[in-house]
Amino acid sequence: MDWTLYIYKTIFLVIIFLITLVVAMYSTYGERKVAAFMQDRRGPNRAGPFGLLQPLADGVKMFMKEEIIPLTANRMLFILGPSIAMVTAMLTGVIIPWGGTLNIGGLDFSMQVADLNIGILYVFAMVSIGVYGIMIGGWASNNKYALLGAIRAGSQMISYEIAMGMSIIALILTTGSLSLHDIVEQQHGINWNIFHQPLGFLIYLICSIAETNRAPFDLPECETELIGGYHTEYSSMKLGFYLFAEYINMFVSSAVIATLYFGGYNMPFIDQLGLSANVVTLLGSLFFFLKIFFFIFLFMWIRWTLPRFRYDQLMNLGWKKLMPLAIFNIMATATYYYFTVLK
């Protein structure tokens, strides 16, 4: 029994990693398509039908490029930076419940690699370590632009993680659990957390855009002022790792948003259809991915609509607007539960 579990978990883990990579790969394609469509263009359409092989071509190009490590750079840290960014981005996917439970031959297979009882904390931990990749890379490059980008990344992360954490505290007040599995199970049907925590969701969404370093919060890379920010000195696949980590982060944060606020793999009216449990599970996973894709699209949509913040605006928004709002949200939630649930 134990052995089947281990083997199943290993296989499932590999599948999750592969799905994450493929989705991230095609997010680059999707991003270019979305950007093009929003600017009345067509986007990549030469490599394969509808340009579907474009990510492969990009990957091959990245691998073929000359790899340059600046002479004055700290070699070890220079290589460590993108590795950390990539690894931490991949690791978050482990605790996300990708679906319910499959029952095959009398054995239950949970579609979640690890159901940590502190799941949300784990997400936060991984996201926070992720910024080390950027910081280390920016520092090791020995380049002032890279350093500036890294500093910006660090301060931005700290500023927005506070508001993010506080919006999550309000969510935990409603769910009463830190485990992602429990949170999803509570949102059965259409009882999604977005209806309990609309303000919290808004704050979380804004903060997660900031955490993934995407426009309008992409100050760490900021092509116009900092050339490329923290990855100015990077080339070849190390640069590819940084760019790729951003897309993986986007995928994972979409998954986390869908899990926390949009009911994860829960579908409305699924009970009334009278389908067998396995079919319900698979449909749920499919629906979960639809939600994730919607949020990925939302991320891109926002990126190609809004211009980048100025640095003081970014800090103003983080500290003077989002944090008080998040505190207010906690207070309001706590008061509500104090007077309704506890009494």
């Binding site: 979305v34 009345d40 263009r41 926002i302 609509t305």
Partner: protein
Amino acid sequence: MQALTNRSKVVSNKKMNFWEWIYLPAIVKGMSITLKHFFRKKATISYPEQQREFSQVYRGRHVLKRDDEGRERCTACGLCAVACPAEAITMIAAERKPGEENLYREEKYAEEYEINMLRCIFCGDCEEACPKEAIFLTDRIVESDYERQPFVYGKDLLVEPLDPAKRIDISKRQTESVLKFKQNKRFAHNK
């Protein structure tokens, strides 16, 4: 000062009201605009598969016309070369020998006729200058190349084929205004 356009706006530093302050309505408005563009018809023309329709009077690659009996109309008078502002046209004249009456319409003809397509600005002055209706600009495109030399087009590329079926059609360029212009007595020699 007098305003140059009527599009100028007076900038005011008034305090934002609540809805402006939280930005969200403006963001939603902006996102609805980008979404509208998302579903709009694309302006792109996918070039090699799809080609933009040329204007009827498009001024592209030149042709040296033959008359109905297949004789070259050009008499190497050099007016096109004189008219050319880019000095792209050069020619060498020659005398028609007896027995060549089926090749050249008049006693003098162009032995060599070259247009440097890199110099040409496709203004159409040569066409206007030509008293014999020999040179015309067409809706064909001068093909790209890696070298310079292939852009110097000689008679082999300029004179239209003898085969009546393969003649280059320039009737689209003869718009009403052009025909009317040609009825002017001053240009009677153009017939």
